[in-house]
Amino acid sequence: MSTSTFVQPGSGSTGPVNTSGNARPRPGPSFFRVLNSEFIKFRTLLSTLILLASTAVVMVGFGALSAWGTGQFADAAASDPSAAEAMAAQGGDLAVTVPTSGIAFAQLILGSLGVLLMSSEFTTGMARSTFAAVPKRIPAFLAKLVVVMVSAFLLTAVSTYIAGLVSVPILDNYGLKLDLGSAQSVKLLLVNSVYVASVAAIGMAMGTLVRNSAGGIMSLVGLFFVAPIAFQLIPGEFFEEARKYLPGNTINPLTAVEHVPDTLEAWQAALVLGAWVVVPLVLAMVLLKKRDV
């Protein structure tokens, strides 16, 4: 007769006991809360703020330098027919790429920031606090990814725009026009910002996989700066072809006004870059979930 108690529907009494009862709400780590936490962590580190500020300075500084250099080149072109030809070959619009001329440095600094934000969790031991609060781990990873990508995107976009504002009067001195509102200017700003955000995401994946700041940054530098040069130096058609598929070589096809022969189409470049972002991130998440902290 005691068996009847076992078939009673909803016999929750045998389940885990909630020792503190349900008297007050006990909010747990929802994604929005974890995102808020990651944003607090992001803005309360001086080192992060320094990296962000230096990116902005480099972007604006290179914009100004490039405006001056482009002006000099245009002056030469006026008196030199061969320079004029070179300019014509560029579609006649050299000035439009001026605001994003510091992008190689932005990607290096913000990519490293992506590495550091994750690797420092492990090198400082903070990861134990983070993943004790969010034991499912993946929400914390995704929240950090959102913070890293959004901040890299916004910083690149804003720095590019400021670099543009600084460049306009300099270019004007040389009689060159730069319209920051033109379709190509807006496209360059958006595509470059998305590209830098992608590099930062790859950096974060590296930081998660390697768990070491120096190692993570070196992997990133290797991928973006060493591999393209090495692939160029190694003879053979394979490396010639493979070079196009390196993540750092996707930005030119993505921003080209017209397709340049012997490079990827813009849509192909977008897919290649997407794969370079998604594959390491998925790998990083799988290992983050599996490994001991």
Binding site: P16, P29, K41
Partner: protein, 314 residues
């Protein structure tokens, strides 16, 4: 309540925790005692879901830690005083932790006051002493007002005042009905703080008992007796379960009888005794006895291992 069943962690060919079973009850302070490298920290990390067990399970209030809807409100842990990014201030560290569970800023300030970090809360953790780091770790553990609290070596690096503070705090938390699980390799501290002891050595549980039982060695209390008629007294006391050791001319150590029985027997038989001292093994002695075969890192000097003879020396 924390329950471990067959909990095992293997690193390569080294078994750090070897199929341990234990239960940590609510409403009392349970000490987790063992020599360095015995598996205390590994066990605690497995409770917190940071390390995954090679085999076995561990649950907190019946559920694996990671499956709790609000983990920080369920269980708070100080696993390592350095589980902090040292570039951040104590306040911001706690604020970021609190944000994951919508714990209000008021509670952050509360735990800062509670742990005596008020003056340094806005400073970077980089400049903290070991003791301040411990206080910050304890503040983080208390943040969610959890029912279960795990503290790994909480008194490490604390000054005497801090040690007393931790002792009072954990006793208070247990008196409120919370589950308190506290690790240490300091037996003297455990003797003052814990109600119940789980002793671990080389990954295995070697004792799991109330602290009193461990000290008295399962009721084997000893009594030192001095008398000028030792032979007569020995005859009188001899019996089942009684063992008497002659330590000196007029000095006996009696096991298996309490002092009152010894005094009564002596009086009844007109044997004069001039000392009657109940002896209690210190926890330290009990611990040494329990763990003597389980210490991971023996020091040659204290174990008195024979030193190879020097040629020609003596």
């Amino acid at each position: 309540m924390i329950e471990a069943q067959g909990l095992t962690k293997v690193y390569g060919d080294k078994t750090a925790v070897d199929a341990v079973n234990f239960t940590v009850q609510a409403g009392r302070v349970t000490g987790f005692l063992g020599p360095n490298g015995a598996g205390k920290s590994t066990t605690m990390r497995m409770i917190m879901g940071l390390d995954s067990p090679t085999a076995g399970t561990v649950t907190v209030n019946g559920v694996p830690f990671a499956r709790h809807a609000a983990p920080l409100r369920e269980i708070g842990a100080l696993l390592d005083a350095k589980a902090v990014h040292t570039g951040r201030s104590a306040y911001n560290h706690l604020l970021a932790m609190a944000a994951t569970h919508s714990i209000p800023k008021k509670r952050v300030r509360e735990v800062i006051e509670m742990t005596g970090l008020g003056d340094v809360a806005k400073k970077k953790v980089k400049g903290f002493s070991l003791g301040m780091g411990q206080r910050l770790g304890i503040a983080a553990a208390l943040l969610g007002d959890p029912q279960t609290i795990i503290l790994d070596e909480p008194v490490n690096g604390l000054d005497p005042e801090g040690v007393v503070w931790v002792r009072n705090l954990v006793r208070y938390l247990a008196s409120e009905g919370r589950t308190v699980f506290l690790s240490s390799h300091l037996m003297s501290e455990m003797a003052l703080t814990a109600d119940h002891l789980i002793v671990i050595g080389r990954g295995k549980i070697i004792a799991d008992a109330p602290i009193k039982d461990i000290i008295t060695g399962n009721g084997q209390g000893r009594t030192r007796v001095r008398t000028d008629q030792p032979d007569q007294l020995m005859n009188v006391l001899a019996g089942n379960g009684v063992s008497i050791e002659v330590q000196d001319h007029e000095l006996l150590e009696v096991k298996g009888l309490d002092p009152r029985t010894i005094a009564r027997a002596a009086l009844d038989n007109r044997v004069m005794i001039y000392e009657l001292t109940p002896l209690q093994a210190s926890l330290e002695e009990a611990y040494m006895e329990l763990t003597k075969d389980e210490v991971e890192y023996h020091s040659l000097i204290t174990t008195g291992a024979p030193v190879p003879a020097q040629p020609g020396g003596n």
